[in-house]
C-alpha cells in the first residue's frame, strides 16, 4: 500500500510539473506585451524598460522558467495585472464560495445518482424510464441546464433568486445544475456494480444463509458500490470543475470560475494561469484522495494488497 501510494504521489507531482510547464509555455505564446498591460499602452519607453526589468522579462527563457517554477513551488502565482493583488489571495478569497457550490453539487449528484442507480440495479430488468432520463440529462450541457432552470424557477415562477448572491437560496439552482449533470454517470456505475454484486457468489451465500433481503442489500450490495463511486468522484473531477466555471458564469456566482472568466476577458495573464494550476492541483489531489479512501473502505483492495 505504502509503495503504491508513494508511486501515485510521484506521478501526481510529475503531472503538476507538466501543467506548470504548459502554463509557462502558454504565457510565452500569449499575444500582447505584459509590460504594456501593466504600464498602459501609452507608457514612456523608460517606464516600459523599468517594468520589464522588474518583471525579469529580458532574462533568458531558462532563467525565467527557473524563476517561475521556483515561485510556483513556493506558492507564489504572481500578481494580477488588473487588480494589482497576489493571485493566491484572489483565489484564496473565492475558494470557500466555490467549495460550497461544489459540495452542494456533489451532494445532489451522489444522492440522486446512487439512489436511482440502486433502484435500477435491483430491478429484474433495466428501467427504460431511467435510461431515457439519463440520455436526456446527458444531452443537456451544463450551461444549457442552468439557463433552463434559471428561466423556469427564477424568471417564470419567481421562486428562487436569479443569481449574483452567495446566500443559501442562491446555492439551490447552481448546485442543482452542477449536480444533475453528473447524475447519469453515477446512476450507471451504481446500477452496474449492483447487478455485479447481485450475481456474485457472496450474495448467493448470503441468500443461502437465509439473511433478510434488506440486510443483504445494505451489507453486501451497497458496500461494493462504494468503491466505484469513489473512483468516479476522482475521475470526474476534471469535468466537474469545468461545470463549475459554466455554472458560476451562468448564475453570476462570485467564485473561482467567474474569476477565471473575468481574467480571460481582461487578458489578466497571471490570474488565468494561476486558476489553471490550482484547478489541476485540485483534480490531481482528488484522484489521489479517491485512491486512498478506496483502499481504506474496500475490503477487496486490502486483500489484494496482502496477497
Amino acid at each position: 500500500m505504502a509503495r503504491y501510494l508513494s508511486l501515485r504521489i510521484v506521478l501526481g507531482l510529475i503531472s503538476i510539473i507538466g501543467v506548470v510547464l504548459l502554463t509557462f509555455m502558454l504565457q510565452f505564446l500569449l499575444p500582447g506585451d505584459p509590460a504594456k498591460r501593466i504600464a498602459g499602452p501609452r507608457a514612456e519607453p523608460e517606464v516600459l524598460a523599468t517594468v520589464r526589468a522588474n518583471m525579469h522579462l529580458d532574462d533568458p527563457v531558462t532563467t525565467q522558467l527557473a524563476a517561475y517554477v521556483g515561485s510556483v513551488a513556493r506558492g507564489d502565482l504572481g500578481i494580477s495585472y488588473i487588480r494589482r493583488r497576489p493571485v493566491v489571495d484572489l483565489i484564496g478569497e473565492r475558494l470557500p464560495t466555490t467549495a460550497w457550490l461544489a459540495a452542494v453539487g456533489l451532494l445532489v449528484e451522489l444522492t440522486l445518482g446512487v439512489g436511482l442507480g440502486l433502484w435500477d440495479g435491483l430491478r429484474r430488468e433495466r428501467s427504460r424510464g431511467l435510461a431515457a432520463v439519463n440520455v436526456l440529462l446527458l444531452s443537456v450541457p451544463t450551461y444549457s441546464l442552468g439557463f433552463l432552470l434559471l428561466l423556469v424557477f427564477a424568471f417564470k415562477l419567481d421562486w428562487l433568486p436569479p443569481g449574483g448572491g452567495t446566500g443559501p437560496l442562491d446555492l439551490v439552482l447552481p448546485g442543482l445544475t452542477l449536480g444533475l449533470f453528473g447524475v447519469p454517470y453515477y446512476a450507471a456505475v451504481v446500477a452496474e456494480s449492483t447487478r455485479a454484486a447481485l450475481a456474485a457468489s457472496f450474495t448467493r451465500t448470503a441468500v443461502a444463509k437465509g439473511l433478510p433481503r434488506r440486510l443483504i442489500i445494505r451489507r453486501h450490495v451497497l458496500r461494493t458500490c462504494i468503491s466505484p463511486v469513489i473512483t468516479l468522484i476522482g475521475l470526474d473531477m476534471a469535468l466537474y470543475i469545468s461545470g463549475v466555471v459554466f455554472v458560476e458564469t451562468v448564475f453570476a456566482y462570485p467564485g473561482i470560475g467567474s474569476l477565471q472568466e473575468q481574467a480571460f476577458t481582461e487578458f489578466d495573464r497571471p490570474v488565468l494561469m494561476g486558476t489553471v494550476i490550482i484547478g489541476a492541483v485540485v483534480v490531481i489531489a482528488f484522484n489521489l484522495l479517491a485512491d486512498v479512501v478506496r483502499a481504506l473502505v474496500d475490503p477487496r483492495a486490502q486483500v489484494q494488497d496482502a496477497g
Binding site: 504548459l22 450541457p141 472568466e261
Partner: protein
C-alpha cells in the same frame, strides 16, 4: 423477395430505433446548416425586424418563424448560419481529437516500453487538466478562429480517447492472433493496420459519437464564455451569450440557440448509446431472484 426484404428492414428499423432516430436528427441538423442561405441574410437588419417600440419579435411572428434578435436580425437565418460554424467546429474537432487519441493509444499499447511510458504520462497530464479552465487559457493563446477552437478542443479531448483506446489495444496486443502475426515477422505497422485497427473500429465509432456530444457542448460553451467564434458571426455559443442578457423579457433569444445545441448533442448521445449498447449486453442474473 421484396415482401420479406421489407419485413426484415422493418424489423431492423425497430431494433435500431435509437440509432435511426439519432442519425435522422443529426442528419436534420446538418441539412439545416446546408440550406442556411435559403433563410436569408443572417446579418441583415430589415425595417420590419423590430416592433414599433423597438422590441425584438417573438417566435412565430409574421415573416420571422423564430423571431428576431435585439438588432432585428432574423433568428432562423442566424441559427442556420450558426449551425454551419458550430457543426464545422464539432465535426473537425471530433475527427482530430479521436484521431489523435487513437494514434497515441495504439502506439503506446503496441510498442510498449519507453514509448508507452512517455505517451501515457503525457496523456495523464492532459487528463488532469480541467477542460474549460485550460480551454480559456488556450483560446487566449491560439485565438478564436474556427481552426483555433478546433485546436483547443482537440488539445482538451484527445487524452480521453487515448486512454480508452490504449486499454482496448493492450488487451488485443495479448491475443494470440496478434502475437502470431508479430512472431511470423509481419512489420508492426501492418499488424496495427490489419489486426488491431479493424478490431477497434466499433469502439472507435462509439467513442466518436460520445466524443461528438462532448465536443458540440464544449465548442458552444467556449463561445458562450467569449473564447470562441466572435460576434457578429453567428455561432450557437455566442448567440447564447447574447440571449442570456435578455432572459427575462425575450427568452426566445436564448431558447432558439439552446434548442439547437441540445438537439445536436442529443443526436450524438442517441447514436453513442445505441452503439455502446450493442457492445455490452449484460447476461448476468441476480441471486436475489431465486
Amino acid at each position: 423477395m421484396p415482401a420479406t426484404r421489407a419485413a426484415t428492414a422493418r424489423r431492423a428499423l425497430r431494433e435500431h430505433r435509437t440509432l435511426v432516430v439519432g442519425c435522422l436528427l443529426l442528419g436534420g441538423m446538418v441539412l439545416f446548416a446546408l440550406v442556411a442561405p435559403l433563410f436569408g441574410n443572417p446579418y441583415a437588419t430589415p425595417l420590419d425586424g423590430l416592433t414599433e417600440s423597438g422590441q425584438s419579435h417573438g417566435v412565430l411572428s409574421h415573416g420571422h418563424l423564430l423571431g428576431t434578435d435585439e438588432l432585428g436580425r432574423d433568428m432562423l437565418a442566424r441559427s442556420a448560419e450558426g449551425a454551419r460554424t458550430s457543426l464545422e467546429i464539432a465535426f473537425l474537432a471530433n475527427i482530430t481529437s479521436v484521431g489523435l487519441g487513437v494514434l497515441v493509444g495504439m502506439a503506446a499499447a503496441f510498442y510498449r516500453g519507453w514509448i508507452e511510458q512517455l505517451l501515457m504520462r503525457i496523456t495523464d497530464v492532459f487528463l488532469s487538466i480541467p477542460t474549460v479552465i485550460s480551454g480559456l487559457a488556450l483560446a487566449a493563446v491560439i485565438g478564436t478562429t474556427v481552426i483555433g477552437i478546433v485546436a483547443v478542443v482537440t488539445a482538451l479531448y484527445w487524452a480521453w480517447a487515448a486512454r480508452i483506446v490504449f486499454g482496448e489495444a493492450l488487451a488485443l496486443r495479448r491475443r494470440t492472433f496478434v502475437e502470431a502475426a508479430i512472431a511470423s515477422g509481419v512489420p508492426g505497422r501492418t499488424v496495427i493496420r490489419r489486426h488491431i485497427l479493424p478490431n477497434l473500429s466499433s469502439l472507435i465509432l462509439t467513442l466518436a459519437a460520445l466524443n461528438g456530444a462532448a465536443v458540440v457542448s464544449i465548442g458552444s460553451g467556449l463561445s458562450y464564455l467569449g473564447a470562441g467564434i466572435q460576434p457578429p458571426t453567428p455561432e450557437w455559443g455566442n448567440m447564447l451569450a447574447e440571449g442570456a442578457g435578455a432572459l427575462d423579457y425575450s427568452p426566445h433569444l436564448l431558447l432558439v440557440p439552446l434548442a439547437c445545441v441540445v438537439l445536436t448533442v442529443f443526436s450524438f448521445v442517441l447514436i453513442g448509446e445505441a452503439l455502446a449498447r450493442r457492445g455490452a449486453l449484460s447476461l448476468r442474473r441476480s441471486w436475489l431472484d431465486i
